[in-house]
Amino acid sequence: MKILVAVKRVIDYNVQVRVKEDGSGVVTENVKMSSNPPDDNAVEEAVKIKEAGKATEIVAITVGEEKSQETVRKALAVGADRGILIKTEGTVEPLAVAKVLQKIVDKEKPDLVFMGKQAIDDDCNQTGQMLSALLNWPQATFASKIEIKDKVLEVTREIDEGLETIEVNVPAIVTCDLRLNEPRYASLPNIMKAKKKPLEILTASDLGIDTTPRVQQIKVEEPPKRKAGIKVASVAELVSKLKNEAKVI
């Protein structure tokens, strides 16, 4: 079995994100970038499956600018066998990514495609679903547990009501939840070895995909600041304020 894992380079989750003064987006200059956290879970799961002898090859892929190579290298350092970077400029929307992945799936013929359930930068949570539709493959989203039973995957999903267990036939798309596993650390010798693993670089136009955004972004702004609280002197005052000012009772 062969697993394709899609990863994305995003602003590190510890960084306080700042909106650009002109409202055209967020500041990425001088900001620490990292791999999208649930993508780390996707890579970890693929590596675990390979270690259990149930997969033979893991290919890590990303769509993004030149520097996104770092994110692929990180996947290689924790156990992916080779990498692919599809070079693009500017914003790439989920549909364009899904189309790129479709092309790569046609070429690589993986049995499973793993990725994070969503990226922490745009929070779209669409790429896996769109890819599933484009390929006409079954999808298992928000996976918090994956069991491989021959040509069937048993996937536990985290949903609002609790946990849902489903079975999907392979080939399939799985999008991974943070609770799926604890991603391992890349060891120093493995980081060195990862530098020597093959990494193929293509552009979206090599694949014949137009990545021009279809959504026009009008404005990005910071959420309104919360007003400071006040102290009230008595219960009566509190009730009166709740009634007359907040109008909640």
Partner: protein
């Protein structure tokens, strides 16, 4: 259980200006050397914090074509100011009356973090192997006592010291020579200085704590290339310190404050002095209408030549501020740190190829311009132990009339942890409330640093005696850790009328001040799990 080990010609600990310059110079002198460099931050530059007005002297020697290599050195200093601040007034001091070391017209306003990122690219292009996210946590010795290399920190250990599922053992990195370039108060450098008695016959090292904020300010208040320094308010005559305000590119100002850690009043809060400083009319008008976008703090070396330890030992060298090469009156350490690294590289080549003893490092260092600079600078900082006014008068005579050539050397008498007076002998200081416009509390400041440490790991701030903070330090000094820590790591909390000392180690921004200032030297800073700590951008 055996750890894996890897052999290199040279292992360098720390990806700041000194370590990176060592690496680059080594590969320039011999492209075949195997050189690796470890950095505890998640990426090069993420733990670097500096003013920074950069003198290019060392870089001109190291990479003479730096202008063609798209280096992040762009903003030339165009204007200079020096202000003495009173509580509400200020007096401008003509810059031609400043000692030459404090004139900056050939220098550049830079982000040292970005310079380091760029230096790392140059080093990697030369074949240096750089490993960010791997703190060196342990020194390894040969049987003959010489330094053999270092071990990286184990990853995936829980609070109780047990291995988690994600456990990844550390690696031993062995070098013919190991270079320690951890910066001020490196935790391994400190051990080496003690073990090899490198500070024998030297004065105790002197430190300062430096704060920096980056503000995006209004166009009308921004003068790209302007460098301003202040002395005086809010500090009293007996406390050493001052500010910097550098107008960098993109409407940013780098605004900061340095306070000598030899201050005496345990009630003094360096953080609050800095916050209060920004409310001075001369400063407030610059940042008014602007937005604070970054915050950070780091200890720095102030001891100069008198406190500089021997920088060589069997199998290893100390470079940059892991030894202490900062030039205090110049308020610059980057160029000297870089040069010390370059000299170290030359030494190592002769050591490996011609079997020369590493002690030639000292001879080379003494012949270099770094030594000349530090020698001329040596009397400035100790003269300020007589107070700001006498310090300035003496410095004028020493630096302007005699150009640092007075035939005597003043001494640093006390280590910084010895200078605090008992709390009951000193006045309490009432700091103004934060207004969340110009001044901010520690929590929102630390938030801007992007600091994170993986949860459920051992506390990396070790107490030699866990009861001392409450039983002694609280009573005697009102537990000054609550105030000298710029990140709110230390708190004294009352629980059922019993005082408890709390260490919020996840907030630690790796400044090392606690390791320096704790009056009984009860706190030891050790490396947390790799990638932990701040994620500074262009600091």
């Amino acid at each position: 259980m055996g750890r894996e080990s890897m052999d290199y010609d040279v292992v360098i600990i720390g990806g700041g200006p000194s370590g990176l310059s060592t690496a680059i110079k080594l590969k320039q002198l011999d492209p075949n050397l195997n050189v690796c460099l470890l950095e505890k931050a998640s990426e090069i530059g993420a733990h670097i914090l500096s003013g920074n007005v950069f003198e290019t002297r060392a870089l001109d020697e190291l990479l003479p074509n730096w202008k063609e290599l798209s280096s992040p050195i762009k903003t030339k200093v165009s204007k200079e100011k020096f202000l003495f601040l009173g509580k509400t007034k200020s007096i401008s001091w003509p810059t031609w009356l400043l000692p030459k070391v404090q004139q900056n017209h050939n220098n550049y306003i830079i982000s040292l973090a970005n310079l380091c990122r760029w230096l790392a690219e140059q080093a990697e292009a030369l074949g240096v192997e750089i490993f960010p996210g791997f703190p060196a946590s342990e020194i390894l010795y040969n049987e003959d006592g010489s330094v053999k290399g270092v071990a990286t920190q184990d990853m995936g250990i829980d609070k109780e010291g047990n291995q988690k599922d994600s456990f990844e053992p550390g690696i031993e990195l062995l070098g013919k020579v190991t270079v320690f370039a951890e910066g001020c108060r490196g935790h391994l450098g400190k051990q080496l200085i003690e073990k090899f008695n490198l500070s024998k016959d030297k004065n105790p090292q002197q430190y300062g704590i430096g704060f920096k904020e980056i503000w995006e300010i209004e166009d009308k208040n921004h003068e790209e290339g302007m460098v301003m320094h202040t002395a005086g308010w809010p500090l009293d005559n007996s406390t050493y310190g001052g500010s910097f305000i550098y107008h960098a590119e993109n409407k940013q100002v780098f605004l900061g404050y340095v306070i000598g850690l030899d201050y005496k009043n345990p009630y003094l809060s360096p953080y609050d002095e800095f916050q209060r400083f920004k409310t001075h009319p001369s400063i407030k008008k610059i940042i008014e209408g602007g937005k604070r976008i970054s915050y950070g703090a780091r200890a720095l070396i102030e001891g100069g030549l008198q406190s500089l330890p021997q920088m060589f030992m069997p199998g290893a060298l100390l470079v940059g501020c892991d030894a202490g090469t900062l030039n205090m009156p110049k308020i610059k350490g980057s160029h000297t740190a870089m040069k010390s690294g370059m000299i170290a590289a030359e030494t190592i080549i002769e050591n490996i190829k011609e079997n020369k003893n590493l002690s030639i490092y000292e001879e080379k260092f003494k012949k270099s311009w770094v030594y000349e600079e530090l020698h001329a600078a040596r009397n400035v900082k100790p003269s300020f132990s007589w107070g700001l006014i006498l310090g300035i008068i003496f410095t004028g005579i020493d630096q302007i009339l005699f150009k640092g050539k007075l035939p005597f050397t003043l001494k640093h008498k006390h280590a910084d942890h010895e200078t605090l007076k008992p709390a009951n002998e000193m006045p309490k200081i009432n700091y103004p409330k934060y207004d969340n416009v110009t001044t901010f509390d520690k929590t929102s400041s630390v938030y801007l640093t992007g600091t994170n440490h993986t949860e459920n790991q051992p506390v990396h701030l070790k107490l030699k005696d866990p009861n001392l903070p409450i039983n002694y330090t609280l009573e005697e000094f009102d537990e000054p850790a609550q105030r000298y820590c710029p990140a709110g790591v230390y708190e004294v909390q009352k629980e059922n009328d019993v005082n408890k000392f709390v260490i919020n180690s996840q907030n630690c921004i790796h400044c090392k001040t606690c390791d320096i200032k704790e009056p009984s030297q009860n706190i030891t800073w050790v490396t947390p799990e790799g990638s932990g700590g701040p994620k500074y951008g262009n600091m």
